[in-house]
Symmetry: C2
Subunit: 365 residues, 2 copies
């Protein structure tokens, strides 16, 4: 069977193995699901109610214009609806953006160890990806800009706050970076963790700046990962480009209803923010109780430095897995000295607290 | 702003305008939603219950392997799970298939007047589309095969039953067509209306035949259009190709739960089949009462021959719109002598029955 040349050249690799698959391999469910930075505090009860109510309307296609949600986001962010496109999560929007901007051989720059799904999409459309190292556990704006200038990159990916390290740059660093973008490079600013970041991390949303596109999601702070709904904000001409290629009826009706209700429930978001902050502290304390240090985090997860190399951290992760804790870790040195633990409710944090010393003891020999 | 060459060349056209957009333009909601072949009899109550229950689990990503649903579909169709890929409706799967198989300039064949979203995807990946005419209101296998042989087509699209005419070919015609496929052409067999077709329309599912891929959906018979979930069945090597390019976490968790429950509820599907059959008869009677003839249909919609040309049918459609009936019509002559009315519950059928004579009188004078 002969695929088209680009797909034919792609490895049958998948960016992530889901926890359900891991559970089937293990033969038992995880007791704590802390590996995908899901929001275990859950979506707003009003969003759950809206989705449950929308379920009986599931015979209707969702509004392909996502009109109500775009209007609500427009009001929320103070940007015109023409600057907003809704998609099947940031994953789906990243795929569309790469398709829209990258012809085979076009240069793209990211950080080595940053979001694999972006790299997957770049490879999937034949882009030429350059990766620059992290610097002190953060994505390195200067290195990204230099690589972009050298390669003539059309896209530069940066997540702020960062995944998998939880690190962040203050808004001024990003704004300075935008001013220094070379050529017609577009900054893909992945702000998946925006709602969980400390004040001063997010700059002004640039809805009329052709040099940057903001990627946002309902998966993290709003707790709707399974609903698959996110959005991008950018210059209206760029946003209009998505209309040429997107699957217009692709965003499901129930997700639209859930996102709309979640966005409106600011009180629940505050509650989640407080819970996440508490869980971040708890994870840091658990690390310290085990002689490890947790990295500061602007997200709903914490990277814990296991104090050894990647092999050691992988052993710790394997021990956690045996104890029923689903977690993941950075894929690239030196960040792979860490394991990455998502914030979750108390029971999950307790389970992690019990499992970590055992996993460490096993990893130590 | 410079897009990649293929998107840059695309018109900012959208295959379909959604009814919500039309309602915003009209300023009032439709009283009957009969334009998108949605299933107004609704999904199984068990599917609604499953989705409502899954809503509170929406903080978890859906299983990217769609394991449970694939297992259930495997058992239902008697094909191996390796022959099944789940996607965001047939629309999403058609996009992935075109991307997987078609390089810029590659030939693709379809029927003039068949599903516009397929054409949208072919254009979106730079394919060279050849359209052949319908023959007696049906897609024409011989014309498709001849055009495919002449152009060296890699894909041939055929919907059985057909949309927008509701016509169909018996299974033997399709099986004969598969035997006569030229070169390495792949038959894209869109069976969106499979569950509503009369016995003898669907052939054996070919899960190990590299010459055909079956496209199925939960949008029509199962009433889950808004959940955005469909599947393709084909040769395991072809199906594995989707893993190289699909958005692995793209199918939402609530839809997976809904589809699983819908598939299991055979009693509800029988109920819907009976309701649809009744509504088909009702639409035909309404046509006859107005001196028009309805075409036979193997789907959940009926094409009504308005007895004039396309301009006349467009006038009738505009009259229905004024009366609050959302309907659509074929885009190409001579099929555009018809309007296309989806089957729906009694209240919607009554509304159509009241509106049609008025719309006809207006169109006539």
């Amino acid at each position: 069977m002969r695929f088209a040349p680009i797909p034919q050249s792609l490895p049958p690799t998948v960016p992530f193995t889901g926890p359900e698959t891991l559970e089937r391999r293990r033969g038992t469910p995880f007791i704590a699901r802390l590996g995908a930075n899901e929001n275990g505090f859950g979506p707003s009860p009003l969003a759950i109610e809206a989705m449950a109510s929308a379920a009986s309307e599931a015979w209707k296609y969702g509004d392909p214009d996502n009109h109500e949600l775009r209007q609500a986001l427009s009001a929320h962010h103070g940007v015109p609806p023409e600057s907003i496109v809704i998609g099947e999560g940031i994953d789906g929007l990243l795929g569309l953006l790469v398709r829209l901007m990258i012809a085979p051989g076009d240069a793209v720059v990211t950080s080595d160890g940053a979001y694999p799904t972006f790299n997957y999409h770049v490879a999937g459309f034949g882009g030429a990806l350059t990766k620059v190292p992290y610097r002190e556990d953060r994505e390195d704006p200067d290195a990204l800009l230099n690589a972009a200038a050298e390669t003539g990159a059309r896209l530069i990916y940066l997540a702020n706050p960062d995944n998998p390290m939880g690190s962040w740059h203050p808004a001024e660093v990003i704004e300075d970076m935008i001013e220094r973008l070379p050529g017609d490079a577009l900054l893909v600013l992945d702000e998946a963790y925006a709602e969980l970041a400390p004040a001063g991390t997010l700059g002004k949303i640039r809805a009329d700046d052709p040099r940057v596109i903001h990627m946002r999601t309902f998966s993290k702070g709003y707790g709707l990962a399974g609903a698959r709904i996110g959005y991008a904000i950018g210059h209206p001409t760029l946003i209009a480009g998505f209309e040429r290629i997107r699957n217009h009826f692709g965003v499901n009706r129930i997700a639209q209803a859930g996102a709309l209700a979640a966005l409106a429930d600011r009180k629940w978001l505050s509650h989640v923010q407080a819970q996440v902050a508490g869980a971040r502290d708890r994870i840091s304390r658990i690390a310290a109780e085990n002689g490890l240090s947790a990295l500061p985090s602007a997200t709903n997860f914490v990277a814990i430095d296991c104090g050894g190399d990647g092999d050691f951290a992988r052993k710790v992760l394997a021990g956690l897995d045996r104890a029923g804790i689903f977690a993941r870790m950075p894929g690239v040195a030196p960040m792979d000295r860490c394991i990455r633990i998502s914030c979750g409710p108390e029971a999950e944090m307790n389970a992690f607290s019990e499992a970590l010393p055992v996993a460490l003891a096993e990893a130590n020999g």
